[in-house]
């Protein structure tokens, strides 16, 4: 049993890393990894929201009617996002400014809704909390990797500390929008190569990882398949 709990916690870090393996939450991954500090604060803010919402959703899993569960989850998540952003506004105003609009957008971060849908609604409170911690730290770890690459190569510093011999040899495009796509693409390719193509769960963006699947009931993919069959 203990082993099982540990595996829930560790799963989020590597084997089912939300960013590189499940490919969820792409928007903040690309947007906040320009700097290491921004990435870590985004990761931790999302982790707090994820743990809290997982716990509450798991507590309420028998109360919430199945048909209206997605709106209920969204309200719970939005509540915690508001709490986190108010706390950051009060105590860490610089980070609040740095993250800007992306802090409010944690609400629509696929990882949080996805974990609610895939995990918290079927497991008890303790397991859901562990899953939240694991997934949240996995997300933070992935953001840290991305931002380290982008900041060290792109602006020759790490978390604002200048690296002496890197100055003057920077690839500044990496800190801008195209660099985000490029580094993310290469990271996923590395995961692919290391695991011989078995690693990345979502070869393409299918319904398994899509939190909206709960709402659309897989209609979007069905249409795709039907069309393909018709074409064949």
């Amino acid at each position: 049993m203990k082993n099982n709990k540990l595996s829930i916690l560790l799963r989020g870090l590597l084997i089912e890393n939300p960013v590189f393996v499940l490919v969820l939450g792409t928007c903040p991954t690309l947007a906040t990894t320009k700097t290491v500090i921004g990435a870590i604060s985004m990761g931790l803010a999302a982790t707090v929201v994820l743990i809290c919402s997982n716990v509450v959703i798991s507590l309420l899993r028998k109360v919430i009617p199945d048909k209206v569960r997605i709106p209920c989850y969204i309200v719970i998540i939005a509540g915690f996002v508001t709490v986190v952003s108010m706390v950051m506004h009060a105590y860490l105003p610089q980070l609040y400014e740095l993250l800007g609009i992306y802090l409010a957008l944690i609400v629509v971060n696929c990882i949080i809704l996805g974990r609610a849908e895939m995990f918290a609604r079927e497991h008890n409170v303790g397991e859901s909390a562990l899953d939240g911690i694991g997934m949240g730290l996995g997300f933070t770890l992935a953001l840290l990797c991305m931002s380290t690459i982008r900041e060290v190569l792109g602006s020759g510093s790490w978390a604002g500390i200048e690296i002496p011999f890197m100055q003057g040899h920077t690839v500044s495009i990496l800190t801008q929008a195209p660099g985000g796509f490029l580094v993310f693409g290469i990271m996923i390719a590395i995961v692919n190569a290391v695991t011989h193509g078995k690693g990345v769960k979502k070869k393409d963006f299918g319904c398994e990882g899509c939190p909206s699947a709960g709402i659309c009931g897989g209609n979007c993919a069905d249409k795709d398949e039907k069309e393909e069959k018709e074409n064949v």
Partner: protein, 197 residues
């Protein structure tokens, strides 16, 4: 006045493109851009929802939340309003315009959790736009999203046929193509200042 609106429109379509420079709405951008008609459908639906969402959220922020000092409830209220609106639009379309529902209906539920729609409504408020400017900015963001989707659908149909290295097959090569498309939008930087400044 008119010039300000043009500047807002052009800059949100080309320079501050929501997908390619602000990274909002990446999921539909990568997920639904495989075929041109689907990309168009998704782009049009997003534009439509952005406009409707702005019509609903701007007055709520100005006349309800600001008046009552409830600004901190912005996130919760906006996401609920957007979710309810999308459901409502879907029901209305299904009942009265079935043909449109058939082509756009499948994209509507996906838009509820699209960060671009929530992003544009919050951004309009935090930029301090008035109602008309907000509408123009939403239209611009929607059109920018549509433009990016359509362009990328074209790029992707070529990628499908190319022989990428094994590790890069699928998602990675798509992301790298997105990086190059995003790079090409850098060419628009400064276009506003030069044309209208």
């Amino acid at each position: 006045m008119f010039k300000t609106l043009i500047v807002i429109l052009m800059s949100s379509v080309l320079v501050n493109n929501y997908v390619l420079s602000k990274f909002l709405g990446i999921c539909p951008f990568l997920g639904v851009s495989k075929k041109l008609d689907q990309a168009c459908g998704m782009g049009l639906s997003v534009t439509f929802v952005m406009l409707v969402a702005t019509v609903a959220t701007w007055p709520i922020q100005r006349f309800v939340l600001d008046k009552l000092g409830l600004g901190y409830l912005q996130t919760i209220v906006f996401i609920l309003v957007i979710a309810a609106l999308v459901q409502f639009i879907e029901i209305v379309l299904k009942k009265y315009i079935p043909s449109l529902h058939k082509s756009l209906g499948i994209y509507l539920p996906l838009i509820t959790t699209n960060c671009a729609v929530l992003g544009v409504t919050i951004q309009n408020i935090s930029d301090g736009y008035n109602f008309l400017e907000s509408m123009v900015s939403s239209l611009g963001c929607g059109l920018g999203f549509l433009l990016a989707m359509v362009l990328f659908a074209g790029v992707r149909s070529r990628i499908e046929n190319c022989n990428a290295p094994k590790a890069f097959k699928g998602l990675p090569v798509t992301l790298i193509a997105a990086s190059i498309v995003s790079l090409s939008f850098f060419g628009f930087a400064g276009i506003i200042e030069n044309l209208l400044g």
